[in-house]
Assembly symmetry: C2
Homo-oligomer: 213 residues x 2
Amino acid sequence: MTTRKDLTERNDRALLQAARDVLAEDGAHASVAAIATRAGVGIGSLYRRYKTKEELFQQLSLLSLDHWNEAAEQGLADSDPWAGLAVFIRGCVEFGQGSLAPVAGTIEVTREMSAKARRGDELLDELVRRAHRAGVLRGEVTSVDISLLIEQLGRSPLVDQLRKQGRDDLLPAAAEARRRLIAIALDGLRPGHDPLPGSPPGGELFTDRWSQQ
Amino acid sequence: MTTRKDLTERNDRALLQAARDVLAEDGAHASVAAIATRAGVGIGSLYRRYKTKEELFQQLSLLSLDHWNEAAEQGLADSDPWAGLAVFIRGCVEFGQGSLAPVAGTIEVTREMSAKARRGDELLDELVRRAHRAGVLRGEVTSVDISLLIEQLGRSPLVDQLRKQGRDDLLPAAAEARRRLIAIALDGLRPGHDPLPGSPPGGELFTDRWSQQ
DNA sequence: AACTAACGGAGCGATTCGCTCCGCTTTGAA
DNA sequence: TTCAAAGCGGAGCGAATCGCTCCGTTAGTT
């Protein structure tokens, strides 16, 4: 028997997924009305669950950080250092980790968020260190390189726009095409290539953006 | 000493570059006011040059197509098939080819635009065919794969957002970090890797999006 | 000095924003 | 069967922003 609580919970999940989708399509200007509509939920219900738009985005960020950390732990659980790293990257990219980029700097970062982010950094560091020790990751690649790669691949302009145009028929093909790009990028991370240009990127590139202006 | 004409021309160039930048940062919602301000030009001047916002975006698309074609011709002029392809990809990606994605489907496609796009397709096909013949490009990679890769890499969420936050001090480091990602992806295009997943993407993924809904 | 072309931006009506509020439906205890 | 309460969807509020027009000002030219 599905009662009130079930429906509420389903609505909440739908809201969060809708928020991710709309953010991906509309960027920083994503409107609450659009999010509610896509979730198939009234605006009133959205505002009963979250006091403000910012609170919704904060919750979304928390879930994304959780997903990042879970993917990293799942990767570390794999005994093969390369397979573990690849699982992590693929997991983050396909989850759409990059969709959150537009909200960086527009919401207040809670203590909980920075704690989870710090833990995520440590986990990724360990993944990278382990892969380097095993010699299965291209020498000069750092954790920051990987974070930026995930961000770069973590949005699909193609999928976002097809969805905006209502061409849902093309979505499976787009997802497959995207997986090919990810595979290409992952192969570029393997050893045996020429040295990378420039010097390894500093961590401030990735972390500073979340601090308020 | 033709100051008047010079200024007008400089303004026009500034407008187009500003439009590219703002489009990259704000996506489809980019406002004419933001574009004019970034270009250091009054709104009035913008509207003296372009009758409507759409006309500005059409001109921008034309220039992007021109750049694409010039980069492809420059690549074909290189006698080394791989170097030529790499020059083309790097040229398109660093130009910010991907910033235009948000306007796809929102402006009318002129006959001139589709003619140039068709020519671009042919040039890229030739680049890819030549590289395959020389055995310097991973076997299953198609022109569409490359187009999508350029689109995926042709925006930098990192750079866009740093600019939005006014962290101009970090821009050089961000550009360098980006060049590393591009190098990684290019290396993934070389032969000698496992087969790519899925089947080659169909051309409609890239072309259909520009036709009006 | 007089002319005028190009300039910047105030301000128009229309639209969209985040959010509040309320009438309606569903639920479950009385 | 009744009915208070809880949860729902969405109309509509004031504020903000949109694309664009229009005009007073500036600066090169004669």
